[in-house]
């Protein structure tokens, strides 16, 4: 199992599958390449989903939360941050009042979203190279 990330647009469609060769089952390292994708697609960016590739509840780590916050400060707006385990998906957004990340519901086309979440799980099962969606 390998942690994997998906950059998606405002409609939930895949922009970029982030599968660096140095990722592990518990960590995706900082990546200039990922940042370049986020910056280049900032006008259509909806968020970034990533896996915690095991069964159980999907909650962000402390490192996840500081990444969410840093990227939003860099790009100047809020995004949706789904955390995906093999058995659950929870989406998080920043509360603009408290600045805490709280659970939120996505409202994407269910067929598109469910397909992408399953593909994200599948890509977490086998290591592959980076690919644009």
């Amino acid at each position: 199992m390998m942690e994997t990330a998906l950059v998606f647009d405002k409609g939930g469609e895949a922009i970029y599958w982030h599968e660096p060769t140095d990722r592990s089952g518990a960590h995706i390292a900082d990546s200039r390449d990922l940042w370049d994708v986020l910056w280049e697609n900032r006008d259509r960016l909806g968020g970034v989903a990533h896996t915690h590739p095991w069964n159980g509840e999907a909650w962000p780590s402390e490192s996840d939360l500081t990444t969410f916050s840093a990227v939003e400060r860099g790009l100047g707006r809020r995004f949706l941050w789904p955390v995906v385990t093999m058995s659950e998906v929870r989406c998080f957004v920043r509360d603009p009042i408290t600045n805490a990340y709280v659970e939120a519901l996505e409202n994407f086309d269910v067929n598109v979203w469910d397909r992408n979440m399953e593909e994200l799980r599948n890509r977490s099962r086998l290591p592959t190279g980076d690919q644009h969606g």
């Binding site: 986020l38 990533h50 402390e62 500081t66 990444t67 916050s69 860099g74 100047g76």
Partner: protein
């Protein structure tokens, strides 16, 4: 006509610092030492954004570059000067060192 002599904007040992913040991107007007620490570079960038000193980035008085990283790009043939970039970090998961 006198021969024109190209004068490099960024001297050896110095670097152009590009900052991305609040959806905007700009270069610090003054070169900075390429060997500056990440902490020093982030402090310079923070103060510059807070005061509106970076062309292309509107002043943000409460600018916070916590959880930013500094990328370093040495001079090369097609870009003959050092470059630094201050941008948000992007790791996910559970770092092994925490």
């Amino acid at each position: 006509m006198d021969e024109m002599i190209a004068v490099p904007v960024v001297q050896p040992g110095m670097a152009k610092l590009t900052i991305t913040y609040n959806g905007q991107q700009g270069d610090l007007p003054d070169p900075v030492s390429y060997d500056s620490t990440d902490a020093d570079i982030k402090q310079m960038a923070t103060e510059s954004i807070r005061t509106g000193y970076v062309p292309g980035i509107d002043a943000v008085p409460d600018c916070d570059l916590k959880d930013y990283v500094i990328d370093r790009f040495p001079a090369r043939d097609d870009v003959p000067f050092n470059r630094l970039s201050a941008r948000p970090k992007t790791p996910f998961g559970f770092p092994l060192d925490t």
